[in-house]
Every structure is written in C-alpha cells, then in structure tokens.
Symmetry: C2
Subunit: 353 residues, 2 copies
C-alpha cells in the first residue's frame, strides 16, 4: 500500500525519518550513497535525501537515476550557493546582498562592494559554518576564494529564525510557526518554538517559501533560514530536507517534520500540524547525556548513536511544556544538570521566553 | 550505558516498546520464546514479557533462566486465574465474587453459589475473551470446566475502566488517569482517556495497584482492569505488562506506557506523565486502514504489519485533541470514513464525552 522511502545518507535525519514511519509501518531505508555497492531498490521506492550531494559512485548513481528520485531540480539549485542566491534573486525573495567571487583579480573590489564586513562562503559542501570566512575591509584576501566562493554582506541581525514547511505533489503546502534559532560559530546551539510570532513575518516567510517550493515543484519538507533585521526578514539559505531547527516538532507538534516529509513523499494527507505548548531544542555537540535529565518534566532525549568527537552533533534534547511558566521551570532545572559549557544555551533560551 | 531490553514475545507490544526506545537508542529486542534456538543474550540484558506464558523450549528456558528476568513472581501469580483471584483476596483488593471449579461433582452447586449468572473462565491461556463461557441457572455444565476453570459472578457493571501504572526497583510508582474501556464479546473495541475521573475511584485504584505491585516487587508497567458498579470499583483482572487500554498514551501523554515500562526496567527516572488533552483509542479488528484518515486532525494510525484475519487485532488508531469539542469534531469526521461495522465504536466513544 505505502511505498518504501529510501533516504540517501546515513545519519541522524534518516534515522529519525525511520522512527517517524515506524508506527504506521511506513518503511524507511537509509542508504549510504558514498559506496560502490549495487543496492536492492524497488521500482516503486521513493528516493529522498538527508545530504545534499554525493559522489558518482555505483550506489550514488543508482539513487540519482531512480525514476522516483525526488527534487533533483531543487537539489541542483541549492547545492551551489551561487545558484541558490541567484534563484532567490530571480524569485524576488529578499536575501543578504551578495557577490560571486569569480575572478582572482577583482576579489578585494568585490568584497568592498558589500560594505565594511563580509562573510565569504564556499559555494559547495559547507554546513555547520564550515567553509566560511569572516572578512573586513583591510583584511587579506585568499586566492582560493576565487571561483570557489561567494561573499555576502555581514548582516547586523537582531536574531535568526527559520521556517519549516512541506509541499506535496498536488501543490498543497503547510508550515510550522517560525522558530527562533541561536547559532554559535555557524553551528545551531538551540531553538525556541511556540512563542508568539509577528504575523507579518510569518506571512512573508510562508509566501517566499511557497514561491520557492512551487517554482521547484518541490515535494517534502524544506527549511528556510532567515535573519531578522529591524523586524524584517532576509533569507540566509535553504535546506531541501528536514532540518535541525525543526527537531522540536517531534514533541512540540501533532505531526513532526519527519512525518510531514514522509506524508508528502508517500502521498498521504498533508494537514497543518497543531502546535503543542512551547518547546526548546538544545543540540548535544560532542557531549553525552545524563539519565537524570529524564527526571525533569517535558524532557525528551534524542541520541543518534554516533561516536563522540569534539563539537560533533551527537544528539538533541527537546523540552516541551504546556505553558511558558512550566517551560521556564524545566529549563532552569535542566540547566543545573548539563555541562558547564552548555549553560549558555539555556541562558539564551530563557531570554527568549 | 543503557541495558538492552529483551522482550519475550513477537507481537505488537514488543514492536511498540522498540519504537519507544528508539529515540534514545535504548535497544529493545523482541524474541519469540516458542522455538528451540539458542539466542544470543548478554549478561546485562534485562528480560521482560509481552506474553504471559510460553512452553519450556530452548529459547523459552533461556529467557526464564536469565538472571535479569523480571517479574517472575507476578507472572506466576497472574497466569493462573485461580492464583490471581487468590492474590487479590489475600491483598484485600475487591474483586468479582468467584469460586474455584475444582471437582466435577460440585460444579452446578458452585456455580449456583454465585447467583443467577456466572462467567466461567479458563484458568490459563485466555485473552480477548477466549476461554470463557456465560452460564445461567438451569444451563448445562461442562465436565471439562472442573479443574481447568474458575467461575465469577456476573457483574452488572455500568462501565469498565482500567488503571495503568508503573513501579521501579526503588518502589517509586506513577499512574495514568483511569481509562474508560468498551469491550464487545470480551475484546477491547475502544478506550477514552483524559476525561474527568472521580477522585475516589482514582485513589482506590492507585492504592490497590500499588499494593499488588509492592507485594510482588514488581518492576515495569502493570494494568488493572476494573468494573464500575454503583460508582465503586471491583477488579476484573491484572495484566503484568503494557496493555491495550494504555495505547492512547502514545499520543495522549508526555511519556507513553511503553516508554514508562522501559524507564522502569532500565532504571531511568520514573516521573508522572502529563496528560495531553483528550484521547480515544479505537482497535482495528480484522480491518485495514485508509490513508484519508490521516487527513483528520489528531488522528494517528498504529499498524502492526500483521496479516489480516477476521477479528484479529491488526492495529489501532489514537485520536488526540486539545479539547473535548475538538475531539468530538475529529471523531465525527473519522466515523464517516471507517467501515460501517466500526461506527458503533465511535458512537460509544462520543457518548462518553
Ligand atoms: N551574511 C551573514 N551575515 C551575518 N551572519 C551570517 C551570515 N551568513 C551566515 N551567518 C551566520 O553563520 C551561520 C551559518 O551560516 P550558514 O547558514 O550560511 O552556514 P551553513 O554552514 O550552511 O550552516 P547549516 O549547518 O545551517 O547548513 C548563520 O546561521 C549566521 O549565524
Ligand atoms: N465477572 C464478569 N462479569 C461481567 N462481565 C465480565 C466478567 N468477566 C469478564 N467480563 C467481560 O468480559 C471481558 C473479558 O473478560 P476478561 O478480562 O476476564 O477476559 P480476557 O480474555 O482475559 O481479556 P484480556 O484480553 O483483557 O486479557 C471483560 O472486559 C468484561 O467485559
Ligand atoms: Mg547550509
Ligand atoms: Mg545555515
Ligand atoms: Mg486477560
Ligand atoms: Mg481483560
């Protein structure tokens, strides 16, 4: 009855998609694309991704060439920042001013055209802030930036938010409310969701993400990261997949982003998830968890089963409570039990409430 | 860090325990006990059950003889109705009047001692109302009842409820609110939870189940089925495991009965689950589900992946909504989409709200 969903990639996102499908026996099979093995795919499998690109290996090509490989066009547009920013411009979606660092000769000039400070980003392969450089007027430029990078004006944002939404083959779309995110050194530390969001921001964000998904005939969940400047949104970047800033939906919404993605892919009804209370998501970066945490109301630990390396995303914790006051109580209690270095994520979260 | 939980039995309960453990990488391994295979158990595995008894096969004995096999005493007390009823009497837990049908000679006399009508129940192996006979004064008795059955007075209950609770090794206990259940021909058709429950009933039920679990040094989730007669509870029977009448907790509580059972077994903190809105659980008995159901707010399908046979429990549907009015709305919408024969379960549920 239901197709099998095959996920290119072998990390936590595929694992959580698998967990979301299990109750209704919707089978999800993560496949590592970076290997030269012929995997057993069925003609009616539907192929989705948790990583944005992979080499042309035997498995990698098998996945890409499957007739039900979804969102090839969106992946093509997004995996190269030059193409992604051009798409945003073309669809008139406001985004940070940018330049293509195409020739070595004009590097300084191009960077200076963006103002006093810029963020240089590798066009391909960056994530969690890797492959980025902060530049300011007077700094040396690096020759290797030419042809491999774009640069963006440094945006003096008050905070960052993201919109997670889904679209199905019929063009129906649903969205979660904007989530507030805190990145440190380019890596997501914590998110807060379920707070009041200015309607105008929500509406613009939904309108833009709709425009993008419709343009790409997109099927599944897409995330759009934004900067908030003077109460207005500017798009930072797109993620054509389930997204870390949507992990709170596992306990904070009636339908999680993982189930929503599966529903869109399997042509199951797409309905607007109801939001349950207020949530904080806190990333475990190179740290284990402690069983005492489960003694606090509303705490849910998601552990990816990966080996520990400094700074590596190895899990996340969702804290979901019916009211703000209760969430505050749980956050304060949990803050006392986490590693010293992580208290700052709780301070940030508490400030947002 | 966490022990592996091995479940004796190979049905939906083990599967749902597995799903509950997945987010935190608490591994749950269901094992079919009725086979003569040496399975690879670890010394620090913790063994629990989803079935109450099994033959002395190679696997069956391996499970029973494992040093971390939990609740042997409670299983011993519960698998034979004669012992179970004696335990309830001994602990002064009110239960339906009963007799042991020990000798063929006194069958009629014993049945008549219970009043006009009785329910004859096989001491061992019955579930979903199998191995039961309704008897009334004047009916023939069957010789085979002697020594294999007990009989209970037929209780003129107004409705049935159940209490699901958990106890850990430290003796800490937590409970869900009483769930209202509707059985037809001895098999659970639907449950309603999250409604107001008379405090007196909740208190007695918790007190009795505490007494039972403490007496047995029980670890994990136990369910206690009760009749309500004139607003007072009488215990029907015990289930030393997660229970069908607790399935609503998957979406209707912050911690499901499956997670609670795992927490107790793995010595993780046991905290009182918070209840989310109101819930109805509706069993799929020999019927498939329709994808349109997922188009209704609050509907969650749990499908067990079993082959279809008439009347067989092959799945359940949880309907969870924040308010009574919203639950009513979802139930009415879903009622229009289910098989004609199942509408009655919705009529019953709607009457309870
Ligand atoms: N133009 C900018 N101005 C100011 N801050 C920026 C800018 N671009 C990026 N940042 C900061 O760096 C973070 C990471 O940038 P970006 O999202 O481009 O990186 P990434 O490596 O693709 O991250 P992800 O893991 O989300 O894919 C942003 O969330 C923001 O905090
Ligand atoms: N003494 C009784 N008086 C009236 N009704 C009874 C009595 N005993 C059982 N019933 C009815 O039959 C149903 C099934 O009985 P019981 O719970 O003993 O059976 P079971 O086969 O063990 O069921 P389960 O699947 O719950 O283990 C009860 O829920 C109740 O509706
Ligand atoms: Mg990125
Ligand atoms: Mg980003
Ligand atoms: Mg029983
Ligand atoms: Mg019963």
């Amino acid at each position: 009855m239901l197709p099998r969903i095959v996920v290119a990639g072998n990390g936590q996102l595929g694992q959580m998609l698998q967990q979301a499908g299990a109750p209704m026996q919707l089978k999800v099979m993560p496949v590592e694309p970076n290997q030269d093995i012929e995997v057993a795919l069925h003609a009616d499998d539907v192929i989705t991704v948790e990583v944005e690109h992979w080499p042309d290996t035997v498995t990698g090509l098998q996945l890409k060439n499957h007739p039900n490989f979804r969102n090839a066009s969106a992946l093509h547009a997004v995996i190269d920042r030059q193409r992604q920013k051009s798409l945003l411009d073309q669809l008139q979606v406001p985004t940070a001013p940018w330049v293509d660092l195409d020739s070595e000769a004009s590097l300084t000039e191009k960077l200076e055209s963006l103002g006093e400070r810029a963020v240089v980003k590798r066009r391909r392969g960056g994530y969690d802030g890797r492959g980025q450089w902060r530049w300011q007027r007077g700094d040396e430029v690096e020759a290797e930036w030419a042809e491999t990078c774009i640069a963006e004006a440094m945006i003096p944002f008050s905070h960052e938010v993201s919109l997670v939404g889904a679209r199905n083959a019929k063009g129906e779309k649903v969205f979660y409310p904007l989530t507030r995110n805190w990145h440190e050194n380019g890596i997501l530390r914590a998110s807060v969701a379920g707070l009041d969001v200015p309607q105008e921001q929500q509406d613009s964000a939904e309108e833009w993400l709709s425009r993008i998904m419709d343009d790409q005939n997109y099927i599944g969940v897409m995330a759009m990261e934004c900067f908030v400047v003077d109460g207005k949104l500017l798009v930072n970047e797109l993620a054509p997949r389930v997204h870390n800033s949507g992990h709170w939906t596992q306990e904070g919404a009636t339908i999680s982003q993982f189930e929503l993605h599966l529903r869109a892919l399997a042509e199951l009804p797409l309905i607007k998830p109801e939001i349950k209370g207020v949530s904080v998501m806190y990333n475990l970066l190179g740290r284990t968890w402690k069983t005492e945490w489960l003694g606090i109301d509303g705490v849910h630990v998601h552990w990816y089963g990966k080996s520990l390396r400094p700074g590596r995303k190895v899990g996340h914790v969702n804290i979901n409570r019916p009211t703000l006051a209760q969430l505050e109580e749980s956050l304060k209690a949990l803050k006392e039990l986490v590693d010293d270095e992580d208290r700052i994520a709780f301070d940030w979260s508490l400030e947002q409430l």
